[in-house]
């Protein structure tokens, strides 16, 4: 019987397989950041262990880093200690680090792909659940806890039980104005936050094949929000094209050998998935969340649901609590929801295509009165590219704040936070209670919806913008 993509990559990394034990998997790439690594390095020290493969390990600073005044000492002493701890650990153990101020610094899941380190058929881990992002290249990539970070540092392997596989086939073609973010939010709403649990997801079908690498990363990034540790997309010409010429992509004969291998990384026609879900891509429209988990979402054209409409008691209770926390009424239209803040950035939507999409919409328009719009590139490189295209000027002229790279308001570990009761439209990945700041209320949206929302002041799609009354008249 044939094998799925996930099974092929898994099998190629088995160091040891024994009856009654989890497989011991080799890890090709280990990404580190400041939050989940300090206790792991401490563990190495306590046991007199070294980092086994410094050549497969790389670190950057992202979760805590400020997005303003980066040339000054970090104001929060606790954040500063955490960054200094990472710097000391990397220096002591010899790990390559891209710290704040370095041109390769940025959100770890933006940095790996742009350096060409994330490649098809590799295993990629990081102490961060959004490591699933790298699956867009046909890599098997998943988030791990700190004990596992220590385990990979010491052994370059992980003992793991093989998950099952789930195919998510997206038929048809996404209509104009419907993005990868809308698609993944719709998938999570359909299968639920626990729907992917125990599975590696493989996104496939015509709508997926048409997506750019950056859009594929947006999809795989949020696999974890459906409960799956990993999501994958088979590598194809789009993948090879993206990788060719990147700093760590293979060259010459190595490139040819790599591509030959990468082309084998497709689910065989006779392979069987443990579960299958089919989505009609052509039926989708812009999608937003109304609740406090990423599965609580609906098309932008819909109304806030009535908790009484849920048959399942625990879902009903969850919806009631969510509406209370979010300060929403059942039945009000999603478009009527006014926001205070718009955040464009994160490992979900902080890449150059995302910034271009948002800039195109705000160009020549103004951010609505009373709305704060923050634009945070996913990495320094993304920021530089945006500046070279003049996007920073577009954002600033519209009244948005252009910031330095990092995780920023996605999780509010740095000063970029919502105040209690404030509401955001955010291109990030989690709308949990307090995620963007204590008492903050988050609606997850695409960059396009974020930009239109910033202009109109309430949840909106670009189609809601009228040229006549919002564009600055020509010549003014």
């Amino acid at each position: 019987m044939g094998r799925t993509l996930a099974e092929k990559v898994w099998d190629d990394h088995v160091v040891r397989r024994a009856e009654g034990e989890p497989d011991l998997l080799f890890i090709d790439l280990h990404l580190l950041h400041e939050v989940t690594s300090p206790q792991a390095f401490d563990g190495l020290r306590q046991n007199g262990r070294k980092v086994r493969r410094l050549d497969l390990t790389i670190a950057t600073e992202d979760h805590n880093t400020p997005t303003l005044d980066i040339d000054k000492p970090i104001a929060d002493p606790v954040s500063r200690v955490q960054l200094e701890t990472l710097r000391k650990n990397c220096a002591d153990f010899g790990v390559r680090l891209h710290p704040l101020g370095d041109v390769e610094q940025g959100v770890v899941h933006v940095v790996g792909p742009q350096l060409g380190l994330t490649q098809p058929g590799t295993t990629v881990v990081c102490g961060d659940s959004h490591t699933s992002t790298h699956g867009a290249f046909g890599a098997l990539a998943f988030g791990i806890g700190t004990s596992q970070v220590e385990h990979v540092l010491a052994t370059q392997t992980l003992p793991l039980a093989r998950p099952q596989t789930m195919a998510i086939t997206v038929d048809g073609e996404l209509p104009d104005g419907v993005t990868a973010k809308d698609l993944i939010l719709a998938i999570i709403a359909k299968i639920g936050t626990g729907g992917g649990q125990g599975y590696i997801l493989e996104y496939r079908g015509p709508a997926i094949e048409k997506l750019s690498m950056e859009a594929r990363m947006t999809i795989c990034n949020m696999s974890i929000e459906a409960g799956a540790r990993a999501g994958m997309i088979a590598p194809d010409e789009t993948t090879f094209e993206y990788l060719k010429g990147r700093p760590h992509a293979p060259e010459g004969a190595e490139w040819d050998a790599a591509v030959e291998y990468w082309k084998t990384l497709r689910t065989d026609d006779d392979a069987v998935f443990d579960a299958e879900v089919v989505i009609d891509g052509a039926a989708l429209s812009p999608f937003v969340t109304w609740g406090t988990n990423p599965g609580q979402g609906a098309p932008l054209s819909a109304d806030v649901p009535d908790p009484a409409s849920y048959e399942d008691a625990s879902e009903r209770l969850a919806a009631e609590k969510a509406l209370e926390y979010m300060g929403l009424e059942a039945g009000q239209s999603l478009r009527s929801i006014k926001v205070d803040t718009v955040f464009v950035g994160s490992c979900t939507n902080g890449r150059i295509e995302d910034l271009r999409a948002a800039a195109e919409i705000v160009e020549g328009r103004k951010v609505a009165d009373g709305v704060r719009m923050l634009v945070v590139p996913g990495s320094v490189r993304v920021g530089l590219q945006a500046v070279s295209e003049g996007l920073d000027v577009v954002f600033k002229e519209a009244g948005a704040e252009w910031r330095h790279a990092g995780c920023s308001m996605c999780l509010g570990m740095n000063p970029d936070q919502l105040a209690p009761g404030e509401r955001s439209a955010s291109t990030s990945n989690r709308n949990f209670e307090g995620r963007q700041g204590k008492g903050g209320r988050t609606h997850l949206v695409s960059p396009q919806v974020a930009a239109a929302t910033a202009v109109l002041g309430h949840l909106a799609s670009p189609a809601d913008l009228s040229d006549a009354d919002t564009r600055t008249p020509a010549g003014v």
């Binding site: 080799f26 790439l29 490649q119 052994t155 998950p163 307090g434």
Partner: protein, 197 residues
Amino acid sequence: MEAFTTHTGRAVPLRRSNVDTDQIIPAHWLKKVTRDGFEDGLFEAWRKDENFVLNRPERKGATVLVAGPDFGTGSSREHAVWALQNYGFKTVISSRFADIFRGNSLKNGLLTVVLEQKIVDALQVLTENDPEAEITVDLEDREVRAEGITASFDLDENARWRLLNGLDDISITLQNEDQIAAYEAKRPSHKPWTLKV
């Protein structure tokens, strides 16, 4: 890691589904660089409400958390496990745990027990009505016992063996160091590297 064989204690019934790790330990606590001292951050936002179950005087000293479905979703932060342990919890019962949280818990000796929802419901009713009611989680017999309730649970044999003996994963793996070296020797040369060493 501390071994887990059997534990008996009073419980905290937490009737919420989808309790994510941002609720268990908010992000601003993640700036600490140690594994201890997270107890005050546990469910920090909810504990501001004096009626939140963890704040009730009759729940003081409870060691068993009886949680709703999909406990531990979201971020991979192992700090969520440390916070539960630092607070004093030895075991968490739910009908479904998020994968990464489950893995983290078992690596730290916090036993996460999966039971059918109707049994979890029964344990919640029991401990809501009687804060003194004790729950026993017996890993040797793979059984949960409380007044009027006996339920067996599954845990893969390998994880159970590690927990019962308090074994450290890294030392176990390093016993197979020769196999790791053999794998490394045959990795294709087109694979990426971060550093010339």
